[in-house]
Assembly symmetry: C2
Homo-oligomer: 182 residues x 2
Amino acid sequence: MAVTTPARERTRHEIVRQAMNLFQAGGYNATSLQDIATAAGCSKATVLYHFSGKPAVLAAVLEPAAADVAELVKAAAQLPRAEAQELAIQRFIDLAVEHRGVVDVLQDILAVIEQMPEFGQLVADGMRLTDYMAGSDDPLERDLAKFAINGLLGECRHSGERTDDDLRRLCDIALRRLLRRA
Amino acid sequence: MAVTTPARERTRHEIVRQAMNLFQAGGYNATSLQDIATAAGCSKATVLYHFSGKPAVLAAVLEPAAADVAELVKAAAQLPRAEAQELAIQRFIDLAVEHRGVVDVLQDILAVIEQMPEFGQLVADGMRLTDYMAGSDDPLERDLAKFAINGLLGECRHSGERTDDDLRRLCDIALRRLLRRA
DNA sequence: TTGAAAACTGGCCGATCGGTCAGTCAAGAT
DNA sequence: ATCTTGACTGACCGATCGGCCAGTTTTCAA
């Protein structure tokens, strides 16, 4: 028991992996526990053996990206405002590209996620990240930052149609135009 | 029978009105026919008496905005490219503000709408509108136009928090920065 | 080898969904 | 007074959902 049982981790990981694909392809609400179980090669009961419920599966799918966002917010917190903005823009694009699948999932649960207490930290981090990206307290700049994030979320969809590099280039141009950092 | 029966139109209109509110507040999938019926003060069977099914209710909600978009696309079609772009930007913002409730609804059904044949025309018009807003065949400009539309869609949410004028101003600035028309 | 813990599953539950249908009811025409 | 028709509804249907539980199979330390 020094290491976690390999079988447990393998099954858990496969469930999360397949859930990610299904959430991305059809959305969270349109994906049933049975769909996830079938894709993962186990029974629905097994999914509920490893996770307390459907929201817990979602949380596991989002977790790596959420951790990266939390880390980014913490890093930006101890920087002067201008540098924090630059860091937020740069790293946020990187994160969006790296976790583009998760971003895609996030898109159709934004309305739902805000009333799930288990995602409160992620929502709060998202708000703070928006503040850093805005670079000032000007309401217009804050709205433009939100505008930029919404646009970026939309661009991460249809994953197969664009390479990571193309996506990164596009987001970089768009954010710098919007936030006047070019 | 020279005019349509007043009772019929009154009930139909109330169903559409309440459906719009509910779709906007909770999304299309999360709103049941029973919810709509209760809000409209009639039975679920009555909703299905007036509309062939749930997608038909959605179509009725989207119809006025869809008609305006179709008209805009037709108008832009017979203009030189630069003028078509200016018209598309200007009018699209107006339409988004005027139909911000519909835009809000549209947000969470973008993935679903593409596989419903009854909305093929609306999807096609949206694509053509994107082309006009891009102003050129440059793939980057097209992507930026899509980026702009996605951002704008996101900004139309949380309707109560911003006045129409504020929303119009924000979208105008954002689109002109993104598309380099300022 | 064995026994207990971990991993897993089939079958079931209550709830809710979109949708159907037979029939009620008021109103206008004859 | 009777009939027709459009508007409307309660009751019901099959399907599917998330979740639960009793019980089986696998794994592995002693």
